[in-house]
Structures are given as structure tokens and as C-alpha cells.
């Protein structure tokens, strides 16, 4: 079953069309389309309750979608679940390892379940423990591990079978920044080795760090998508920051820009703390016009720079809401489960 083509004609390892899943009256997925090109990372971004976890559970055969189609690694999620399970790895929001078993025992068990011989399962477990820096803790039960160690063990468990497609469902939720960096480094390493990754996250920073492309979902629908820069550009322009040589000229400079009446340039604001004037612009012509105007009026400029909006701003622009808090998230998940039972 050596597969040389896990992607479809367009080079997509994951191909989802019109995926629908309702839990009672809750439309967890309301017609989701998305593609992940082979060997890339798609970040699925959305607030809590957007349907991210439901999406991952559908694509990993844990729940059956009500409608739509999905192909992963060349297999139909609905018609070929058994074959599909051989090609995927899943690391969920909650570590899916056995807490009472040691790191070694957990990985050995997974190896045996993946039909490795006893010897190969042992060897592979050791390899993975070393790779994920868990060798020292290998003999201890997983319940004694820190949050970051558990998550790393979970990633290791997902990697035992060298899956072609890896789902990471909020892999760093609840981790401290240092541990988060460790997990990110591991994910980047997996991708550099050729894995295709579908990553769900509510952290903009995480998506920006790891994802090649983004899909923003909200209330079970895709509301925006594209490359990270593309998406930012879609939200509208950039911010031009001008640093006057003389800080005392800050507010006068802002006023001049606002009153100059340049096409498409609305209001400029003075940022006293940073010592810069911020001017929202949408084109390079406007940048040239603003700088030219200021030069013509005798302002001395020490520096200029342009900034794309942060992903938080992108998110605010496309969903009309700020990213929600983890507490609200859990509540929502509970609700979904209630309905699902």
C-alpha cells in the first residue's frame, strides 16, 4: 500500500466540499470548503465554537458529516474510513495518551496497534522519545508529565505511523509561551520532512508562525481564506508610520497630513508614546504623495515604515468580533456535547 499519490489532480492532500454537520439545532459545520496542498500547512482560524474541532473530527472519521464530501490522502472520508485511518495522525486539544502508562509504553502500544513487530515498535518508541526530548521521562507514567511534555508525547504518538496528513487541533491551547515554542519547532520540523498539516488554532501568532495558507471559519462557515499576506491585504491597506526628526513636530505633522486633502488619505494620528505619525493608506501612490507633501512643506523626516495589519485586526475585520476567551470556549464545547448526546 505504498502510495505515491496522496493528492488529487490539483495537488491537494485534503479536499473538502460542502461539509455539513448539525448537532440538533446547532450548525457546527454549515457547508465548509477547503483544500490543503500536499506538503503545506493550512491554518484553520476561528473563535471558539466556530466548528474547528467538529471539522477535524469529521476528517478523522470520529464523527460522520451529515452532508458534503471530503478526500484526505486520496481516500474518501465517508467511503474509505479504514484506509484513511492508516494515513492520518491526530493530536487533539486534550492530550490523547494513556496517563497511567509511561511514555515508552504509550508509544510501544501505538506501534503495535500499527502492526509494527515487537522489536520495531520498541525501536520506534525510543526514536520518538529521543526526538521529542522525552528520553529522561520515558519510564514515568504520563500523568507525572508537565503539560508541554504530554503534548510532545501526544505529537510523538501521532508520528509513530509516519502519517501523510496530520491534524493538529489547537495544539498549543493551554501551554505557556516557552512550551508553545517547543511545539511549534516540532511542527515546523514535521513539515520540513514533508507532512501535510491541517492546524486549527485561535492564536493569530500561531497561524502566522506555522501556516502557509489560512482559512477563517466562523459559525460553521468559511468567511475568508488565502495566504497570510493575501488575507491581510484583503482586509484593506497598510499603516504608514512616519517618524519626524524633531519629536515636537509630531502633532503638527499629523494635522498637516489630515488637512492636505490627498486622495484616499483620511485621518492621520499622532502616537506620542512611539513618536510616530500613523497614516492609513491603501496604495504606494498615497505613500509617495504623503511623503512628498511633507517634504515640500519643510518637515524633517527621520524614518518611515509600513505595516500590514495584525491577524487580530484581520480577524476583527472579517468576523466582526474579537477572538473569544478560553473560558467561553469550554462552555461552548460543553453545549455542543450536550446537544450531541
Amino acid at each position: 500500500m505504498t502510495r505515491t499519490d496522496i493528492h488529487d489532480r490539483d495537488g491537494n492532500a485534503v479536499h473538502v466540499r460542502g461539509l455539513v454537520k448539525h448537532f440538533g439545532a446547532t450548525k457546527a459545520l454549515d457547508g465548509v470548503d477547503l483544500d490543503v496542498r500536499e506538503g503545506t500547512v493550512l491554518g484553520v482560524l476561528g473563535p471558539n465554537g466556530a466548528g474547528k474541532t467538529t471539522l477535524v473530527r469529521c476528517l478523522s472519521t470520529l464523527i460522520r458529516p451529515d452532508a458534503g464530501s471530503a478526500r484526505v490522502a486520496g481516500y474518501d472520508v465517508l467511503r474509505q474510513p479504514r484506509q484513511l485511518r492508516r494515513a492520518i495522525g491526530l493530536t487533539g486539544q486534550y492530550a490523547s495518551v494513556d496517563e497511567k502508562l509511561s511514555g515508552t509504553e504509550n508509544l510501544y502500544m501505538i506501534g503495535r496497534l500499527l502492526d509494527l513487530s515487537r522489536k520495531d515498535a520498541r525501536r520506534r518508541a525510543e526514536e520518538m522519545l529521543e526526538r521529542f526530548s522525552l528520553t529522561e521521562a520515558a519510564k514515568r507514567p504520563a500523568m507525572t508529565y508537565s503539560g508541554g511534555m504530554r503534548r510532545r508525547l501526544d505529537l510523538a504518538a501521532s508520528m509513530i505511523g509516519q502519517p501523510a496528513v496530520l491534524y493538529l487541533d489547537e495544539p498549543t491551547t493551554g501551554l505557556d509561551p516557552r512550551t508553545r515554542n517547543e511545539v511549534w519547532a516540532e511542527v515546523q520540523r514535521m513539515v520540513s520532512e514533508g507532512a501535510t498539516v491541517l492546524l486549527t488554532t485561535q492564536y493569530m501568532e500561531e497561524a502566522e508562525q506555522l501556516a502557509d495558507e489560512l482559512t477563517v471559519i466562523d459559525r460553521g462557515r468559511v468567511i475568508a481564506g488565502g495566504g497570510v499576506d493575501e488575507l491581510k491585504a484583503k482586509v484593506g491597506g497598510r499603516t504608514l508610520q512616519i517618524r519626524p526628526a524633531d519629536r515636537a513636530e509630531l502633532s503638527r505633522m499629523a494635522e498637516e497630513v489630515s488637512r492636505a486633502g490627498l486622495a484616499g488619505v483620511a485621518g492621520a494620528t499622532a502616537d506620542e508614546a512611539e513618536g510616530v505619525v500613523n497614516v492609513p493608506i491603501v496604495s504606494d501612490e498615497q505613500l509617495t504623495a504623503v511623503i512628498g507633501m511633507l517634504g515640500g512643506r519643510g518637515f524633517a523626516i527621520a524614518g518611515i515604515s509600513t505595516h500590514l495589519p495584525s491577524l487580530d485586526e484581520v480577524f476583527l475585520a472579517v468576523t466582526g468580533q474579537k477572538t473569544s476567551t478560553p473560558a467561553a470556549a469550554e462552555q461552548h464545547t460543553d453545549e455542543l456535547e450536550e446537544v450531541a448526546v
Partner: protein
């Protein structure tokens, strides 16, 4: 680690079906997990070790005199122990229900359900280990029994047949409790329902006392109570007597319970979200 380098194990058929050998290997790996859990948490063996000791002492010395007559407690031991063999299976099976309810809420179950293994193997592995626990409990029960006067008037083979029969019936009961454990929301609820069902079945049977002194309607009930069938079968296998009817009834119950509840339990496990 590109997809092209993934070398699939030979066991995997093209349609992804799991072969028998692979299935047994998976059950083995999962049973090992359940055993390691016990090793990590030895207290979970307390019920299997202590229950038979407490029950045999309690019933022999508290009720034995009243049932068999003062000074005839030893005769009661030969009546009671086969009955307790039937009860042991029931109590272990009940623990399976609560254990499954807890265990299956854990994230590791999601991992199992996304792996290329038959989903039934997770449940079968649990039953394999629990039957092992039952064997431990039954061994302790018999050892205690021999210590306070149990005698086998047939043969060792008959005794082993009685043990095997109670294991078979116990394993079928476990499917009921697994189904219950997967259906109910909390372990406490499982325990609550289990108690309500178990108490009448245990006491409305021939486990502790002969049924001939019970009112007619109750005696009628006990005849169809599988626990009575099993207790009678074990009793006649150990003490001698006609075994055919009670043995066949017990086997029929075991098969019927398994055939109905095992597929339901597997389906429930498959669909659990």
C-alpha cells in the same frame, strides 16, 4: 517522511480490512494497556481480592447457621461457594461498566478510534483482562472455601468446568455493562442502575439459599434467573447431581446476552462522539 516512503505493514489489505492475526495482535496490545493500568494502580484489584473473602466469611458465619442449622455451617459452605462463583462474575462485570464509563471519556479513546484497528478490539481487550480479574477472584474464593471446609465430591475436572462456566457467563454479562457504561453519562449513574438491577437478581436466586422456601411467584422467577441457573450448575458440578439442564440454560443465557449486547456495545462505541 513523504507519503511515498510510507511502507505499509503487510497485514493491511487493500480495502483496509483488519485480518484475524492483526486483530489478535491489536487485542493483545490493548489488553496489555489494561494490565499495565492495574499494575500502576494496584488498588483497583482490591474488589477482586477482598470481595470473595468478605462474602464467604460473612454469609457462612452470619447466615450459615440459620439456613443449615447451628453447627452445620460447613455444609452451608458447599452450598454457598458455587453460588458465590456466580455472584463474583456479576460484581466484576459491574465494575467493568463504571470503568468503561470513565475510561472512554479520555482522549486516548479518540486516538484508538482514529487508528486502523477494529473498534471492537478495544472492548474485547477490556473483557479479556476483566475475565482474568474474575479468575483471580474465583481462585481466592475457592481457596477460602477450601480453608473453611469446602469439599469437591466429583472431580477436579468438574470443578474446572464450573469455573469455566462462570467465566463464560461473566464475560457475557460484561457486554451488558459495557453497553450501560457507554450509554450513561456518569460512572455514578452506571453504578446506580447496576445496583437496582443486580440486587433482585442476586437475592432472588438460589445463590444464598434454596428457593423451595420462597413464595411460589418468587420461586418461579428464580427458575428463569440466569444466576440461579449458573449457581445450580456450579453446585451440581462440585457436589454432584444432574447438571445438564442448568448447564445448558447457563450457556444459552451467555450466548443470548452476548449476541444481543455485544453488537450494540460496539455500535455505541463506534458512534460515540
Amino acid at each position: 517522511m513523504s507519503a511515498a516512503t510510507i511502507s505499509a505493514p503487510a497485514a493491511a489489505a487493500q480495502d483496509g480490512r483488519i485480518g484475524l492475526r492483526a486483530n489478535l495482535r491489536h487485542i493483545g496490545a490493548l489488553a496489555r494497556r489494561n494490565m499495565l493500568q492495574i499494575k500502576q494502580d494496584p488498588e483497583s484489584m482490591f474488589d477482586a481480592v477482598l470481595m470473595p473473602i468478605i462474602f464467604i466469611l460473612l454469609f457462612t458465619y452470619v447466615f450459615g447457621g440459620s439456613i443449615a442449622g447451628k453447627g452445620h455451617e460447613k455444609e452451608y459452605v458447599n452450598y454457598l461457594v458455587p453460588g458465590l462463583m456466580a455472584m463474583t462474575g456479576m460484581n466484576i462485570a459491574m465494575a467493568v461498566g463504571t470503568g468503561v464509563n470513565d475510561d472512554f471519556k479520555k482522549g486516548v479513546m479518540d486516538r484508538f478510534r482514529t487508528m486502523p484497528i477494529a473498534r471492537s478490539s478495544v472492548l474485547i481487550a477490556k473483557i479479556v483482562v476483566e475475565v482474568g480479574r474474575m479468575l483471580v477472584a474465583t481462585t481466592i474464593l475457592l481457596a477460602m472455601g477450601f480453608a473453611i471446609g469446602l469439599t469437591v465430591s466429583t472431580s477436579v475436572a468438574h470443578l474446572l468446568a464450573a469455573v469455566a462456566l462462570s467465566m463464560t457467563f461473566g464475560a457475557s454479562l460484561m457486554w451488558i455493562f459495557i453497553l450501560l457504561g457507554l450509554t450513561m453519562k456518569t460512572a455514578q449513574a452506571v453504578q446506580g442502575v447496576a445496583m437496582i438491577v443486580l440486587m433482585p437478581l442476586q437475592f432472588g436466586s438460589s445463590i444464598f439459599a434454596p428457593t423451595s422456601n420462597m413464595p411460589g411467584w418468587l420461586e418461579g422467577f428464580t427458575k428463569y434467573n440466569p444466576l440461579s441457573n449458573l449457581a445450580d450448575a456450579a453446585r451440581h458440578l462440585i457436589n454432584g447431581g444432574p447438571v445438564a439442564h442448568s448447564v445448558w440454560m447457563t450457556l444459552a443465557w451467555s450466548v443470548a446476552i452476548t449476541v444481543v449486547t455485544a453488537p450494540l456495545a460496539v455500535a455505541k462505541f463506534r458512534k460515540r462522539t
